[in-house]
Homo-oligomer: 353 residues x 2
Amino acid sequence: MKNCFLTSHASTLNVKSMAVPSFRLSCTDIVKAKIIARIRPDLERIEREIEGHLSSSVPLISVVARHIMGSGGKRLRPLLMVLAARLCRYNGGQDAALSVVFEFLHAATLLHDDVVDNAEVRRSKPASNTIWGNPAAVLVGDFLYSKAVLLTVAHSNIRILEVFSKTTTLMAEGEVLQLVHSDNLEIDEKEYFEVITRKTAVLISAACQIGAILGNAGDSEEAALRDYGHHLGIAFQLVDDTLDYTGDVKELGKPVGNDFKEGKVTLPLIFAMTTSDDGVRERLRRAFNADEISAEFFGEVRDLVVRSGAIDHTLATADGHIRQAKEVLSIFPPSPTKELLTDIADFVLCRRM
Amino acid sequence: MKNCFLTSHASTLNVKSMAVPSFRLSCTDIVKAKIIARIRPDLERIEREIEGHLSSSVPLISVVARHIMGSGGKRLRPLLMVLAARLCRYNGGQDAALSVVFEFLHAATLLHDDVVDNAEVRRSKPASNTIWGNPAAVLVGDFLYSKAVLLTVAHSNIRILEVFSKTTTLMAEGEVLQLVHSDNLEIDEKEYFEVITRKTAVLISAACQIGAILGNAGDSEEAALRDYGHHLGIAFQLVDDTLDYTGDVKELGKPVGNDFKEGKVTLPLIFAMTTSDDGVRERLRRAFNADEISAEFFGEVRDLVVRSGAIDHTLATADGHIRQAKEVLSIFPPSPTKELLTDIADFVLCRRM
């Protein structure tokens, strides 16, 4: 996987075009296929659990919930919880039931994010708010969040509830923080990492930590899985932020340049702004402050960001976090589950969607 | 208090104008003064607890939270929880800390309601969404809800968490149900009661029930307080729905006719539609479906609704629920707290804001 990253990195530097580097494609496909074969049984259990909770006495809830939680989700968070529990020798039957809490929470944030961002497309489908309106997206988001609380409480484990509730509070603060920073081209790396920690990493970290708690892990095992999730989450978001500049619209399921157009300043842009000369910075600033930005205009922005080395810098930072994610797992003895968690970490770095 | 209701009832019938009946005014003022003197120490403890949780590392959260939770709130839900606990002989020091959960939850729903309804005014102040925009209102609402979960978890009581999480899920479903029914003049009484049970009564009922659980009440005491809260909540909403037709804009802190203009069909309108002749129904239908409705046009609607006896019918229904609320308290021996809960029930029927 190191090769995968390095080659992707080198090809981005060389081609200076925005085509997805071909090695990255094939590398991702191989790793993906290898992972999917092993996670299929867990994914099937998770899907069944999700489906079992999607009906409601209010039909609109079921329809919107199915739209946002239906096909296209990676189920990364529930899967990580299930695997974390297994790594800690959990052999009960409650893991899948608890794991879906993280998908419900995630879906709730997506619905509210779409309202906040006035999103038009999500996973190649019209965003829920464009079909059913903002009120339905806000209220069904509230329902999914409530359902997540209800499903967590059903496990009667105060430690799990403590981690869960601290996580959702940090996430909500992170969402407001991101809103405050939107349209602010002066945000620095520290503020950016604060936002992505709260909006992405804490939930993935909590999924892993709660898996450990379910598995009755010792303190050091629980801390290791919490940290694994944190580093994986940071890397996941960093890669996501590069894909907004270099991704393929079909694979992403949403247009590239979305973050830039929505005034979200991510690490690639921060790096380009702090390392480029005055002329480039001024062009980026003008594009960022423009009321409308055409595909061609964004193409120019993308070129400037890539030429600054920002994508390489961001992926190298993500690579550092993936290394740390794998490193913290060293306290666990070798096992198929540990190997799978390691492969998932590698995949996060090479993913294209 | 029966007199208060009856006199108000009679004067509404007689005057056929929309002036607030004078007896109702004085009756309310006397009852209010009597109640306020007794609840002041509890309200002060509740206010201190709320204030202690309003600061956040993200300043926008504190500003919006203070706006929605600042002056003007009745603190009815926290107060009922504290009193319910005391009625069940609770003498610990955690009641105020737990009670604020209900104010945080309530504030979260108000923020999201304002987004859903495109509200302009709330408690005589501009609604949060009009000052800080829909994104901030949605996300700070999410924060307040998360905070409510966090504060409830801190009490480490699974029974309380079960009631809490069932309640919030029912509430969220109720909000969607109300959205589905909006602009639907054909909604019947059964559907209306389903909506108001979920959107208003379940939270007030949960506050009372959780107070009982905190006080280690027996099953019958817990059930009695849950039912007291339910009937009080239904009556509270019924009175609220009459105030949208007959209230005073200054006392209400929001314009009258709000529900009607927002396409919310409440019991007064349902009653008027089902009991009036075809001509009146057609005039009401035309007003309801109009794109814009002037103050004068709403005045006509109000006259038609009042003349149909709908306000009397709705207040009589509320009176029935207040009687039941007081009746279920009969299992408790006489005490100052029981008397206060009885007076609060009477006040709900006579309130003007």
